[in-house]
């Protein structure tokens, strides 16, 4: 393989560690994120211990999502 590095911009992928553990949590998130403008795609990895929330957005920033979840009683922080 001759090309080792491809430059790509991943700023539109926001990643969070949450405590959304159940399918009920996922449904609640569904209704929250549907109402939120700017969310192009999202998914929640229920099989992961960090319950990773992954959001594709070209307009929103991390703080905005963290606030949204916190306001609805969920823990949510940047995934490192």
């Amino acid at each position: 393989m001759s090309i080792y590095l491809l430059m790509e911009n991943f700023d539109h992928i926001l990643l969070f560690k949450t405590n959304c553990k159940t399918t009920a949590d996922k449904q609640l998130l569904q209704s929250l994120l549907k109402k939120q403008e700017g969310v192009d795609e999202w998914n929640l990895d229920l099989e992961d211990c960090d319950c990773v929330l992954r959001i594709i957005t070209y307009t929103l920033n991390q703080e905005c999502i963290i606030e949204l979840l916190n306001n609805n009683g969920y823990e949510c922080c940047k995934l490192i």
Partner: protein, 208 residues
């Protein structure tokens, strides 16, 4: 911080590293082989690759997405390997010989792959693997079989009868070799002599 340094850091942090992608895939297969799909997690994988969990989630939506992509990629790789030097217009014996060579080399060069395939077989990811494999492999092998039947080299028979005669003996030998022992625990190491002696019996069975 001046703007150039900032841009520099930005590029370093956000480049897609193809070597690292290969590492992730390799480690994922190793981890699945070792502890099964149940024991496999994004967290463990990130640790094994010395990268952050976030980096994994940049490239893969979730654990499922990662496994599906790996299954698809392995399906493609297997199809490509099996079709190396394979001429759909070759005689039945010559074509089957290339199939044996390619399958044998593929299994020998990928010691973990047979365990991984067994795991795939009994998982929900088998469909994605087979779809990719079939899409690339089936047209060529169908043409080959069609030619052999047209030329009257072999009899028409069901796929299962054909496969169990044409390939089950090969995979039995590879399995003995991988386990280091054959029937009843006798130490075993495969050799060209054994491989092709078995092949000759297979050809004798199938050729009219």
């Amino acid at each position: 911080m001046n703007i150039h340094l900032y841009l520099y850091r930005y590029i370093i942090m956000r480049t897609r590293d193809i070597d690292k992608e290969q590492l992730v895939k390799q480690k994922a297969i190793e981890s699945i082989v070792k502890s099964g799909f149940e024991g496999f997690s994004m967290n463990k994988l990130a640790k094994a690759c010395h990268i952050s969990v976030a980096t994994l989630y940049i490239y893969y939506k979730d654990r499922d997405d990662l496994i599906i992509k790996i299954a698809q990629e392995e399906g493609l790789r297997m199809a490509e390997t099996m079709l190396q030097n394979f001429d759909t217009e070759a005689s039945f014996e010559a074509g089957l010989r290339v199939q044996w060579e390619n399958r044998f080399n593929y299994m020998m060069n990928n010691p973990l792959i047979s365990v991984f395939f067994e795991q795939l077989r009994s998982s929900t990811y088998h469909a994605q693997f087979m779809e990719t494999f079939k899409a690339h492999f089936e047209p060529a092998i169908k043409q080959f079989m069609h030619n052999a039947l047209d030329r009257g080299e072999i009899n028409r028979m069901s796929l299962e009868v054909y496969w169990s005669i044409a390939f089950a003996p090969l995979y039995a030998l590879i399995r003995f070799h991988n386990e280091g022992q054959s029937i009843g625990g006798i130490p075993f190491k495969i050799s060209d002599e054994i491989l092709w002696a078995t092949f000759d019996y297979v050809v004798k069975a199938l050729k009219k």
